[in-house]
């Protein structure tokens, strides 16, 4: 009996109409991505950076733990013996294209040097450009631009790191503010 009642009065259809009308007044979930930066959550793992001490030297001691723990084998370290018998990091390369951003290197580091950053939009025109070195990883400007909303996007080209800021007055024009040579 209830079934017939429902069929005659189209209750199912009205239920559906009610749901669509409810959603009509909800706030759209669309992100206006290139124009407005999305919210980066605090635990997001983006492109790495390496911390420095007060003198601006890298905190990395070249222990090879991150290289050993890296599941995608994208960290390459070469060390040398310094004048006072300490270990010097000659070469520290991360292939950003191979990296799966798992954050194991951050966990493994005994001296709190390597960290996962918050930038996700580092792009390059060449595959070779994605292999970044210590200078790229430790550079202050790169670290300062992490997650700030004024940075529109960043890219690497011929060992230069470009940071493109959003021109706040005119939303469509771009300002190239910082170019960092990390070669």
């Amino acid at each position: 009996m209830k079934n017939i009642f429902n069929t005659i009065l189209f209750t199912d259809i009205f239920q559906g109409l009610g749901i669509t009308l409810k959603h009509f007044f909800k706030k759209p979930v669309t992100e206006m991505y290139p124009y407005r930066k999305p919210v980066i959550y605090p635990r997001f793992r983006g492109v790495h950076y390496i911390k420095t001490n007060e003198e601006g030297e890298t905190k990395c001691v070249g222990c090879y733990l991150c290289q050993a723990v890296c599941p995608s084998d994208c960290i390459h370290i070469e060390t040398d013996c310094g004048p006072n018998g300490e270990r010097l990091v000659n070469k520290y390369l991360i292939d950003l294209e191979r990296c799966i951003y798992c954050g194991f290197c951050e966990e493994a580091c005994p001296v709190d040097a390597i960290h996962m950053g918050r930038s996700y939009d580092v792009v390059a025109r060449d595959r070779d450009d994605y292999v970044v070195n210590m200078k790229f990883l430790t550079h202050n400007i790169r670290r300062s631009c992490r997650g700030t909303s004024s940075v529109l996007y960043t890219f690497i080209h011929n060992n230069y790191f470009f940071i493109i800021y959003d021109n706040q007055e005119k939303s469509c024009s771009f300002n190239i503010m910082d170019v960092v040579n990390f070669f």
Binding site: G16, T20, F24, P28, V29, T30, M32
Partner: protein
């Protein structure tokens, strides 16, 4: 005589321009409403909040190459979109948009023609418009187009009957086939109240008549690519597109005139009430579109023949008996 002609031409030009613009912006409203019902934003890039999107679409369609496929039936292929477009547009001639008003000391009727068989004229032209679809499907020489137009003809036959019977209700109450007189008869009581069943049937049949969701089997994207206009491009496609959206506005106008009291309403000017009511009916369309899935073909036929037509005939019967008793019962 000359003045009357000039006034007539001005009225036609105004109505055509407003109509074309509202057809263009109906696509914008459709995309916005359906988008927001899916919690998207709809068009946002061209102009402020995407307001120039319909104009960009129009410019794009006009600047496209006009393709004439090699195996088509040329004259029929070219005439088909014109028939669809002209029929839909000329049906607007009888729609009374507002009551008479005075301008520069002369009385002006804000509609083009005031003929005494306006309801029949509307029904006839909306049926002839369907020929455009059938001819397009046949002339295109493509299986998708042909299947689409076959479905269209079947759909038209089954739903036109129900629509005609539904319209008989208000016509009986008003005692006239003239749309202006039907509106004037609704001054006290809108016909949606005594004729609610007819109104629901009319809305369902009108959705089917204009090939909108959930009755858009004619242009079912998932099975028939685009249905009858697969082979059309450029301005010919644009004509079908305009005709389809103009037909939506047309049936909304007729629904307003027959059931929602036309231009009657308190406080606001006539034309504003008319536009509000038409927009309300169009919103119902878009609301249905974003809610319901497409019907299967046999379900469509069953709904038309087994449900809508019997109910509409019963409605006509009851209405005529009641009208007879009320009008001639005393003597």
């Amino acid at each position: 005589m000359v003045v009357t002609t000039i006034v007539l031409v001005i009225k036609i030009v105004i109505i055509l321009i407003v109509l074309m613009l509202s057809v263009a912006y109906l696509t914008y409203v459709e995309r916005k409403v359906v988008g927001h019902m899916q919690q998207r934003l709809g068009p946002m890039h061209v102009g402020w909040k995407g307001l120039l999107q319909p104009i960009a679409d129009g410019v794009k369609l006009i600047s496209k190459e006009d393709i004439l496929p090699s195996m088509v039936d040329k004259p029929v292929y070219i005439i088909a979109p014109i028939i669809s477009f002209v029929c839909t547009m000329s049906a607007f001639a009888v729609i009374p948009f507002a009551g008479k008003f005075m301008l520069f000391g002369t009385s002006i009727q804000p509609y083009i023609a005031d003929i005494n068989i306006a309801v029949l004229y509307f029904l006839a032209l909306s049926s002839v418009g369907g020929y455009g679809i059938i001819m397009a499907g046949w002339a295109s020489n493509s299986k998708y187009a042909l299947l689409g137009s076959l479905r269209s003809s079947a759909q038209m036959i089954s739903y036109e009957t129900a629509m005609g019977f539904a319209i008989v209700g208000p016509v009986l109450l008003a005692g006239s086939l003239n749309l202006r007189e039907i509106v004037e008869a609704q001054k006290q009581l809108w016909f949606i109240i005594p004729q609610f069943v007819a109104f629901v049937i009319y809305i369902i049949a009108a959705v089917a008549e204009t090939n909108r969701v959930p009755f858009n089997l004619v242009e079912a994207e998932s099975e028939l690519v685009a249905g009858f206009h697969v082979e059309y491009a450029s301005m010919k496609f644009a004509l079908f597109f305009l005709a389809e959206y103009a037909a939506m506005i047309l049936v909304a106008c007729v629904a307003t005139v027959l059931f929602l009291g036309g231009w009657h309403g308190p406080f606001l000017p006539d034309i504003v009430w008319f536009i509000i009511k038409v927009l309300f009916v169009l919103f119902i369309y878009l609301w249905l579109e974003s809610t319901l899935p497409r019907l299967r073909f046999d379900q469509l036929m069953a709904l038309g023949w087994k449900i809508l037509i019997p109910i509409s005939i019963a409605n006509v019967l009851v209405t005529s008996v009641v009208v007879y008793i009320v009008r001639y019962g005393s003597n």
